[in-house]
């Protein structure tokens, strides 16, 4: 069932050249009409979201994502076109809407919860759960102004996730906060996804998009550039600017890039894990830390030769590094199922988001299972050096 339907949506903002927001200014300039320009934040956008879908919206800064979300939430009226939403909406463009610093934590739960559409009765029932999730049992009677910002965010998130609406609108603001809080957010997302909650999700985090979304919309300059499965759309998003270049290159060179063919799954990649220096699953690493890439596989068919390889790309598509077992002159011994590791003692990347390709293929390059840029991780700089590669030049004089 279609739950959100957007048809030929337009949003035009009028930007006056001179801001006149008092009667005095308007009166003084009565014979000098103000000039203005218009800016099309959304242009001819159409899409629909089905019930139970996790719908992602990606796009660069200023592409109209937030305007679109505000229009879905009914905060901005449309200039032309229509937005139809069946059922109730809980927008989380920001956590803790209406929080009042002079009130106690308890009072704020009821205030914020009401604004998000919960009834008094629901709030009373869920109150204990909210407080427990926020881990703020001891502080609920204190004024909010005495809370640390982390405590406030925790409280706000705990209330927000209790909101029972047909559609959740999540802006990227949910992904701020410390790593622990993000982990909690993502855990909750997984839970919501499993419960078939309809969610519209705006973010820059392509890893999250690939992980959660069933359908993705890519917006640029207020127009829809692509709508489809995460793989197609993210590819388009990453390569779009380069597409022209690539076409020119391809025309010049007859050499075709390796065919991206996902393979017949003779050897199937079931899971890829990143292990940090404590041997724990993680998606974020500090540059210079050891990292282990653990590739879980299942052998569906006996094959004569196997090569396992990885390639790492920067999020703008630049190829950073690649290796495989053949290049390292190692033989891959496969069991019925199990895992293989690629391990480095020092991850010599500075900061950024990276995509990784993992593949099993034959000696001749025939792919068994080729997962092109399907895995993401983030590196956090440990020094003040700039760039992408950790080369550790030391100054001397």
């Amino acid at each position: 069932m279609v739950i959100i339907e957007v048809k030929n949506l337009y949003k035009e903002f009028v930007i006056p050249h001179e801001r006149r927001d008092s009667i005095r200014e308007n009166f003084v300039n009565i014979f000098r009409p103000n000039t203005y320009e218009t800016f099309n934040a959304i242009e001819d956008l159409s899409f629909s979201v089905n019930e139970g879908e996790f719908f992602g919206i990606i796009g660069r800064n200023g592409s109209g994502k937030s305007t679109l979300l505000k229009m879905l939430a009914g905060i901005y009226p449309s200039t032309k076109g229509s937005v139809k939403v069946k059922g109730s909406i809980a927008p989380f463009l920001e956590l803790g809407v209406g929080f009042n610093h002079e009130l106690s934590g308890r009072e704020n739960v009821f205030l914020n919860g009401t604004i998000l559409g919960l009834t008094q009765k629901q709030l009373e029932q869920k109150y204990d759960e909210i407080v427990k999730f926020a881990e703020l049992e001891r502080f609920m009677d204190q004024k909010l102004k005495n809370y640390s910002s982390g405590m406030q965010v925790r409280l706000a998130f705990s209330v927000a996730i209790q909101a029972g609406a047909d559609v959740f609108l999540l802006d990227e603001v949910l992904a701020v906060g410390d790593t622990e809080f993000q982990r909690k957010c993502f855990e909750k997302f997984r839970e919501l996804k499993a419960k078939k909650q309809t969610i519209v999700f705006v973010t820059h985090d392509l890893g999250a998009v690939r992980q959660f979304c069933d359908k993705v919309l890519y917006v640029k300059g207020g127009k829809a550039m692509a709508i489809g499965t995460p793989n197609e759309v993210i590819d388009k998003y990453i390569y779009e600017d380069r597409l022209e270049e690539y076409k020119a290159e391809e025309a010049n060179q007859e050499v075709s890039s390796p065919v991206v063919n996902s393979g017949a799954k003779e050897v199937e990649i079931t899971k890829v894990e990143y292990l940090d220096r404590h041997g724990k699953n993680n998606e974020k690493f500090i540059s210079g830390d050891p990292i282990t890439l653990r590739i879980h596989y299942k052998k569906n068919k006996n094959v004569t030769s196997v090569v396992c390889g990885i390639a790492i790309y920067k999020d703008d598509g630049a190829y950073m590094y690649g290796t495989n077992s053949f290049l390292q002159e190692r033989k891959v011994n496969l069991k019925k199922s199990g895992y293989v590791d690629f391990k480095t003692d020092s991850l010599n990347l500075l900061s950024g988001n990276y995509a990784m390709t993992v593949a099993f293929h034959s000696d001749e390059g025939k792919p068994y299972d080729w997962r092109d840029k399907e895995f993401y991780f983030t590196v956090i700089n440990s020094s003040r050096d700039d760039g992408f590669i950790k080369l550790d030049f030391k100054f001397n004089s």
Partner: protein, 253 residues
């Protein structure tokens, strides 16, 4: 959000506003009640003791006038700022914007209700006795609220568009304080100006309330009609202007 939840939201916002307004002062809500009484004391000393005006039931006449005016002035002032002060909320979530204006004027209305209770206490100590016509008081109060809401709807959206409305309104309120028969008897006003005074429904509200409370009487039919139409007209204008201008209010705040 579901429709029946809006009433709950309205109530919670109004309650929070009421709590916040007198927050931090030890006397708390008492301030809301003391303010008109203090004003009453000053005006009473000036006009009754110093200027030796003599008119029956002047204390009650003056007190009722001040309480009604106080509600009008504070209600519209709160309403005027309501949208701007809730700007963050308006930009982040959707609910009918009118709830904000209703909630903030309701806060003033709660104070008004307490004030009227105090008035009735004073009334019970006077020579006048309670009579059954006073059962109509709630209707008068509701009309007073509709009047305040009408002005607030109009002012609140205009304040977002023109930020100097608040200054203009302050001057108008100041003038209104003297042009409305709050502390002087309306009999002092020459007959030919009376029509202009009653152009403002607040004059009608004040006079007819006094007629009810002090003279135990109802306004004339024409007077009542004239007043009712005035109130409804102001509310209708306020509502229509609000409806038109509040559509894209989130972009303007």
């Amino acid at each position: 959000m579901k429709r029946n939840n809006y009433w709950h939201l309205l109530w919670v916002i109004a309650k929070t506003d009421f709590k916040m307004r007198y927050h931090g002062s030890v006397l708390g809500y008492l301030w809301a009640l003391l303010k008109p009484l203090l004003m009453f004391a000053v005006l009473y000393v000036v006009f009754s003791v110093l200027m030796k005006w003599n008119m029956p039931n002047y204390q009650l006449y003056l007190l009722l006038g001040i309480m009604i005016w106080n509600f009008f002035a504070e209600g519209t002032a709160a309403g005027l700022y309501s949208l701007l002060s809730k700007g963050e909320m308006i930009k982040k979530i959707y609910f009918p914007r009118i709830l904000i204006v209703i909630a903030s004027t309701l806060t003033a209305f709660m104070t008004f209700c307490l004030n009227i209770l105090i008035f009735l206490v004073f009334y019970s100590f006077s020579d006048l006795s309670f009579h059954f016509m006073m059962l109509l008081i709630p209707i008068y109060m509701i009309l007073a609220y509709v009047l305040v809401l009408g002005f607030s709807l109009f002012l609140s959206v205009l304040q977002v568009k023109y930020r100097d409305i608040v200054q203009i309104w302050e001057v108008l309120l100041q003038a209104g304080f003297f042009l409305t028969p709050i502390f002087y008897p309306i009999t002092l006003v020459p007959e030919k100006y009376l029509f202009y005074m009653f152009l403002s429904p607040i004059t009608g509200l004040m006079q007819y309330s006094r007629t009810l409370m002090l003279d135990k009487n109802l306004p004339s039919f024409e007077g009542a009609m004239y007043f009712l139409i005035g109130v409804l007209l102001i509310f209708a204008i306020g509502f229509l202007v609000f409806k038109k201008l509040s559509r894209n209010i989130a972009e303007k705040i």
